[in-house]
Structure formats: C-alpha cells, structure tokens
C-alpha cells in the first residue's frame, strides 16, 4: 500500500494556522448533526472530553471503556499538573514560549504546527475546567495559583494538590454524564473494543466484548475515535494502571493505521523500586523530591547490602552531583534515569535482591532535614513520605528513600495528521494513543494538556469537517464486513482459551516480554542487544500461543481472558518497538542509543539523517513492518543541542 504521509497542516504564519484551518474546515448544520453516529473508545481526558463535546454539539455518540465506570480511566492517576500559557504569574510566559519549550523538550522530533496549536489551546482548557468546577489550587486572593514543573523557567503549571488528573477527569466525566442524561451519549462501561470494522477503506465501527457476560457485539458509526491511552504496560512493570493496554490501537494498526515512533517511551527516574517477583506495578514518587533529596549509591559494590546508616560519607557516591556539577540532582529525567541504571549495572544497586539484582539507589533527605528541620520537609513532601512508608514500611525521615526509574509514558502512538486522523479514513486518534505532540520526549504536565486540547477543542472541529464531506449512511447489520470482524474476534478468543500445550497463566509471558524489552529497549538501547531481543520475541510469542493457560469460558466475566488478549497484542507491539529503536540510528530525547551518546551520557541527535517521524505499516507479518517517513521541517525554530553540565 502506498501511504502519502500528508500532515495536512495549514501553511502561513504559525500564529494564524489554526484560525485559518478552522475557517477552511467544513461544518455540519446543527439540524443535521443528529443524523451522524460517532464512536469514541476511551473515557480518559481525551475520550471523555471528546464524547461530551460531540454530544453537546448534537451528534449521537457511543462511548466505551473497559473499567466499570468512565471515571476510572487512567488519567485519574496523574499527579503533578497541567501546563497552560496563561502568564498569570507575569513571568514572561507566552504561547510562543510554551510552544518552544515543548518542541525543544521533544528534542525536535515533533511537528511545529501541531505543537503551536496545543500551546494556543492550553489557555482555553483552564477556563473550561474552572467553569466545570475543577478545584485548581488558589492563592489567598482567590486567583488561580501556579507552580513551576519539570525544570520549566516559568510557573505555568496549574494543579489540584497532587491529584490534578483526578480533578480534570472528574470535570470531563461530569460533562459526559450530563450528555448521558440528555440521551446524546450512550455509555458502554465494562466493554472492550477487540476489532475495528473497515468498510470500503473507511473506519465504520468496532467489535466489542461485554466484559460482564462475554457477549460479542458490533457497533457501527460514521467515524471512529480512539482515545485509548498509552502502551507503557508493554514493559509489564510501569507506573500505568494495570488495565492500560494497546489492543485498540494495535487492532487499528493491523487494519492499516500506521504506528509512529513506537520506540519513544519515557522513563521516570523516581519510582519506588520493585520489592519482589510478585510485584504488579510501580508507583511514581513526584519529581519534586529531587529538589531536596540527594541521589547516591555505595561507592563499592561490596557495600550494596550495607544499611545506609553504616556507610560513611566517603563510602558514598553522589553520582549526579559528581557527574553534573551544574544541575546536580536536578538533571532531566532521562539523564538521571540512565545514571541510576549505570550505578546498578556496576553492581552498586541497593535494596532487596529481585531475580539476582539489586535495582535501586538512595534519595537521601538527611541533609535537607538537618538544615531545614523535619517540619519544613514534612510540609513539602509529607503526603509523599506517607505513601512511600505505606508501600515500603520505611520512614524517609529516618532512612533514605530507595528509588529506581520506571516506564511512565508513551510518546509514540498512531500516526495522525493535523486533523488527528490516522491513515485509515475516518479513524481518529487522540490523547496518549496518538504520537502527535511530544516528539521524542514529553515535558511534565503536558499530557493532560494534550488530551484535553484534542478532545475539547480539536476533534469537535475536525470530526465535523470529516462528516461534512460524508452523507450519514447507516451500515446494514448483516454487512459482510461486520460478520467477518465478529468471527475474527471469536476465533481469537477460542484460540486463547484452547492453547494446545496450556500451562502458564498469561502474566508469565507478560513478565518475559517486559523484562526483555526493559533490558534491551528501555533506558539505553544497544544495537546488538536490540537484535538479540528481536530474535527472542517471535519465540516468546509462539510459546505464548502454544502454552498460555486461560481457565473459564468466553461467555462469562473472565479477567484472565481479558489480560491474555491484551498481552497477545503487547507481544507484537514489543517487537515493533525494538525494530524502531534499531532503525533509529541516533539518540534523541528518551531514545538513548548506547552507540550515540556523548562522553557525559548526553544524547547525540543526527538531524541530517533522522529528522523524521518513523511511521510503520503492518505488512501482514509482525516481524517485517514497512517504514514510511514523514520528514519534519522546522520553519520557525532552529534545532539546538541541550546541555546540563
């Protein structure tokens, strides 16, 4: 298949592009909107805001999520905040500055037009959320408060304590509820999309499984929107919720939606390390802790099982302060993460041994407590200390925290054009599941911004534009494409339930996959190791289909079956991630190739050869995907090199 990767972005001055584009887009007359049916899969910030807004406008919307309530989408867990170029602090922020920071943060691997639009819309999001009753932090005078986040030089982050994602999602969920009550949105909780229905080259519906009774059903529509979140759980252990998965986007990929930059996955340096092989997920500890905590590891490997209190100063290596004297403990996420990994790879990791390795370094508050007192530190980080203590049983006031990096976010995702449409006509993707705005690295507090910009302010226009070019035309329920999609789903479920040599629960294979890609396609990527992983992956996949054990039937509430299906897709996506990491023969942002690092561990970009989006086509064989390139052109900013020495 020939893909012409047209970004369909408008031309002209950056500031005018979105305005111009909005004017150029077609509209659907309010009286005609009710004739159209739109499917929105996902109820996180992206999906919830999309469904609510389309419902308000008068379209008929069907909304789906796998949780028991739309309010539980993983967006609920976001802690830190949401960026917006309001410049309420009068500290020199502007749309242009937020745009520039985001492009630079993404290490010049994203599209200028999209990122500018995101920065432009950020201000509307805050207004919208406040109007819905989202309780952002306030100053004593009653106005909205801001903080600086993730190394930004301006205070542009709006927040609601450490629960910003929860509060924003409840805002979107309440708007969604209003439309459900009004009959404009039909809600399908505990319903999982398992297949995309494509008719005459257009996305026309989905096949779902009712997770309560196992019923397989087809839903058709005039267009389909995927807002199904990120794929960090491919690594098994991540900070994502347990249910986060890539199945919806992977089904779409197999139907012709190109997958962009799959190897761009972000690692967060400060998570609570794994404590045993039973570990089911990793918990994020806010980045802000590095403002007062000092990161260290024992100087000598033989000290790694000593109690930290028994190690005198000269037996400790404050490796960030040593290697990056200017920024010290505040170096960016990826640099801090790789340095911690190197210390552990040297055998200097601390904490319990899991699978023969100690993966953890200390984050020590004793100096700050000595200087400022427990009370001040408690005020700053009390809730985090409490959470840490609940999980580990250790009090960070008395003994240093142990931290280790973990997978946190996926910048890669379905390729979309400026209208957020994938390469399948009529299939849109928004939020973390598309690749659009963060390039090779996402800045803190900008995922929430993107999800809501997509859902409240971009899709309502671009979907209207798409529908204005198509007559509403319902699909006959007995259409051949529907029955074949349903039978594909059924036969896949049957296969999962009847592996010939069934012996291991699905998690067994998920752990194998996770360990393999974490070691080879995680914090640092080495070509030889990637090739090795690429050899093993098809083997693990074969074993999975031969040996996976799922008890119970498909006609009942069956969580093992749900997980098995998701893991089957992760096993394919994991391979594409490694293919992409190997193909991108440079380092950039989160993608640190061991053969393209400076002596100080900085990533070395190769703009001459790799200034493109890698968009992969499914060829019919997972192991031989076809690469398409969207060349990036920088008309307004000049790609520069970062330094934290």
């Amino acid at each position: 298949m020939i893909y012409d990767l047209h970004s369909n972005e408008p031309t002209g001055p950056l500031e005018n592009r979105w305005t111009k584009h909005r004017f150029d887009m077609g509209l659907v007359n309010p009286a005609n909107r009710k004739k159209y049916q739109v499917i929105v899969v996902g109820t996180g910030l992206a999906g919830g805001s999309t469904a609510a807004t389309l419902g308000e406008m008068g379209y008929h919307v069907k909304s789906f999520c796998f949780q028991d309530s739309p309010r539980r989408a993983h967006s609920i867990a976001a802690q830190g905040g949401i960026n917006a170029a309001k410049n309420y602090q009068n500290d020199g922020d502007s749309v242009w500055r937020l745009f520039y920071d985001t492009i630079k943060g993404g290490d010049f691997r994203s599209r200028e037009s999209n990122v500018y639009r995101l920065a432009e819309l950020s201000v509307n999001i805050i207004d919208q959320a406040v109007a819905q009753g989202v309780p952002f932090a306030r100053e004593y005078g009653g106005l909205l408060a801001n903080r600086s986040f993730g190394g930004a030089q301006v205070s542009r982050t709006f927040y609601a304590r450490g629960q910003t994602g929860q509060q924003l999602l409840l805002g979107a969920y309440q708007a969604l509820n209003r439309q459900i009550a009004a009959g404009m949105v039909e809600m399908f909780p505990r319903t999982e999309m398992l297949e995309l229905i494509v008719i005459d080259g257009r996305a026309r519906g989905i096949v779902t499984r009712n997770l309560v009774d196992g019923k397989i059903e087809a839903h058709t529509a005039d267009c389909v929107v995927l807002c199904t979140g990120g794929y960090g759980n491919a690594y098994y252990l991540s900070t994502n919720a347990k249910g986060c998965n890539a199945s919806a986007v992977w089904r779409a990929h197999r139907h012709g939606a190109l997958f962009a930059n799959p190897c761009f996955t972000q690692i967060h340096p400060t998570c609570i390390p794994q404590s045993g092989s039973y570990q089911s997920k990793l918990t994020l500890m806010s980045e802000s802790l590095r403002n007062d905590g000092r990161v260290w590891a024992p100087l000598r490997p033989q000290d790694s099982d000593c109690a930290p209190a028994d190690l005198p100063e000269d037996a400790r290596d404050y490796f960030l302060e040593r290697r990056y004297p200017a920024f010290g403990n505040l170096v960016p996420r990826d640099i801090a993460s790789r340095a911690a990994k190197e210390a552990c790879d040297d055998g200097r990791g601390v904490g319990p041994e899991v699978n023969g390795r100690r993966l953890g370094v200390y984050l020590d508050f004793s100096k700050a407590i000595g200087q400022l007192g427990e009370a001040v530190i408690g005020e700053r980080y009390g809730n985090l200390f409490e959470m840490y203590q609940r999980i580990t049983g250790e009090d960070p006031n008395k003994t240093p925290m142990r931290i280790y990096p973990a997978i946190h976010y996926a910048m890669g995702g379905l390729w979309v054009d400026y209208n957020l449409m994938t390469t399948v006509d009529g299939l849109f993707a928004a939020g973390e599941c598309n690749f659009s705005d963060h390039g090779a690295n996402r800045l803190g507090a900008s995922a929430l911004m993107q999800g809501l910009a997509d859902g409240y302010f971009v899709l309502p226009y671009s979907i209207g534009n798409y529908l204005s070019q198509h007559e509403a035309d319902p699909i006959a329920p007995d259409h051949g494409a529907i029955s074949s999609a349903i039978s594909a789903v059924n036969s896949r479920i049957d296969r999962l339930l009847s592996a010939p040599g069934a012996k291991h629960p699905p998690e067994h294979f998920h752990r194998l996959l996770g360990q393999l890609i974490w070691d080879n396609c995680g914090m640092s990527r080495d070509p030889a190791e990637l090739k090795n992983a690429l050899q093993q992956l098809p083997e693990i996949r074969d074993r999975f289909w031969h040996e996976v054990k799922v008890t119970g039937s498909g006609e009942q509430f069956n969580q093992t079956l749900e997980r098995a299906g998701r893991i089957a897709d992760f096993l394919e996506l994991g391979e594409l991630m490694c293919v992409d990491a190997l193909e991108r023969n440079e380092s950039c942002g989160s993608h640190a190739r061991s053969d393209h690092l400076t002596a100080d561990g900085e990533v070395k970009r190769d703009d001459d050869n790799y200034s493109y989006v890698a968009a992969w086509e499914y060829s019919g064989d997972v192991s031989t995907p076809i690469l398409h390139k969207e060349q990036l052109c920088f008309e307004f900013v000049h790609p520069s090199i970062r330094s934290y020495k």
């Binding site: 949780q67 309780p135 629960q163 409240y456 291991h504 509430f557």
Partner: protein, 247 residues
C-alpha cells in the same frame, strides 16, 4: 509466613454464593493485599481452576476500582486506605482473613468480589455536574474563590467513587457520596445556578436506586479512604431544606 483466606465465590449475580477456603503458604510483608491475591490466582490458573475475580486498576488508591470487605471492614483494617494500598505487613503469620464483596442491594454482585456500582454513575448523571458548554467559559480568573473555600471544595471533590461508604452503612446509604458531590459543586460560585435543583434530583436518584438514608451512624466517614467528613451530609440536608424555601 502463611495465612488462611475465606473468600466469597459467586459465579454471577443470580447464583448462590459461598465462602471458599484457601491457604497462602508464602507471603511477604512488602506485598500488597492485591498482589497476594494475584499470587493465589496464578496458582489457581496453573492448577486449572478459575481465579478469584476482583476489581482493580490503578493500584495507587485513586481510581476507586478496588473494593473488598476484609474481615468485615470495607477496604480492610488500615485507616484512610484503599484495598490496593493495604500491605501484608498489616497482617501476621497464621492469620485467618475473611474477604467479601461490598454488601449493598444497590450494588449487585457481578462475580466473586466484583460488584456493579453503576448506581453511583446514575446518581451523578442525575445532576452531579455544572452545565458549562465547551467553549463558553469565561477566563479562569473571572470568579475569585478564596483559598479556604478552594481547600474545602477539594476535600469534597477528592471522592474516588469506590462505594465503601454505602458498603459500611447499616442503612446502605449513599449519603456521603452524594453529599460530597453536592458540597464540591455547591461551594463554588460556578455551581450556584443549579444548586437548588441538583440536591433534589440527586437525592431522588439515590432513593430510586434503593439506597437508604443517613442515620448518623458515621460508619461511612470511618471507612472513607479519602477521609471525607460527615459534615458534608449536614450541609446537603441544609441545602435541601433551603431549596424547598427558595424554589
């Protein structure tokens, strides 16, 4: 360390349930309660048996999915903690633990420890929102909100919708859940236009769903993982009477 679990098993909403006994031969203090159940389940699957169904997602205490009654207490013995944030160090070697689903008529059992909490969604659909059409909002700083009010709003809006309040209540009342939302929206200037109608429609829906009314037992507040205070219920009642006068 080892323990004995008595776990509620029920194949679907209409089936007769029963307790099933399991011994856990090895658990460590650093395991979460749900990870202990994961280990049990992987063992059951390997042995060809059906695992115990239970709800979970974030495992960070924020999504509100997890919902076990442990030794008679929704979310178990630790204060201000969801089930997923309960760690095995709270238990001792040889303990015998009883694990059940939320026991509320309005939350029918789906399977084993999983219940249907869509009644809570329907209560919120009945009025738990501020009607603010996308694109129509004024600048975020148009209505100043004092810090104290904002903080009070936040301590109401932090509800995770887990259902523990109703599960703990002898009257199976959803009052704390409803009152938290009414306080969240009703304390804000943006929430005033719909304040009078909201309290009526939401309480009516709570009644329709079959929840009882508040008898001031305060069990809800004791189990709420977000420590939402029962004074919100008093506020809700006041709002209700106030609206009767002003309607």
């Amino acid at each position: 360390m080892s323990l004995v679990l008595h776990i509620w098993r029920q194949s679907d909403s209409t089936a007769q349930g029963r307790f099933e006994r399991h011994t856990i031969d090895e658990f460590t203090p650093d395991m979460s309660f749900l990870e202990m159940l994961d280990v049990l389940n992987e063992g059951l699957i390997s042995a060809g048996k059906e695992p115990v169904a239970f709800d979970y997602d974030c495992r960070e205490g924020i999504c509100g999915a997890c919902s076990l009654v442990i030794d008679g207490i929704p979310h178990g013995p630790q204060n201000a903690t969801t089930t997923c944030q309960l760690y095995m160090r709270e238990f001792s070697d040889g303990d015998e633990i009883w694990v059940e689903p939320w026991r509320v008529g309005a939350f029918p059992v789906v399977r084993d420890l999983v219940v249907d909490r869509s009644a809570y969604d329907r209560i919120l659909q009945a009025g738990g929102f501020i009607s603010a059409r996308t694109g129509s909002a004024p600048d975020g700083n148009t209505f100043p909100v004092s810090k104290e009010t904002a903080d009070r709003v936040f301590t109401s809006s932090t509800c995770i919708g887990c259902g523990a309040c109703a599960a703990a209540c002898p009257n199976a009342s959803a009052s704390l859940f409803v009152a938290a939302k009414i306080a969240h929206l009703g304390l804000l200037p943006q929430g005033q236009p719909e304040r009078n109608s909201r309290v009526h429609t939401m309480l009516a829906q709570m009644d329709t769903e079959g929840f009882g009314f508040c008898g001031n037992h305060r069990e809800c507040e004791a189990v709420c993982p977000k420590e939402i205070n029962i004074d919100r219920i008093a506020r809700m009642n006041r709002d209700m009477y106030r609206s009767l006068v002003r309607r």
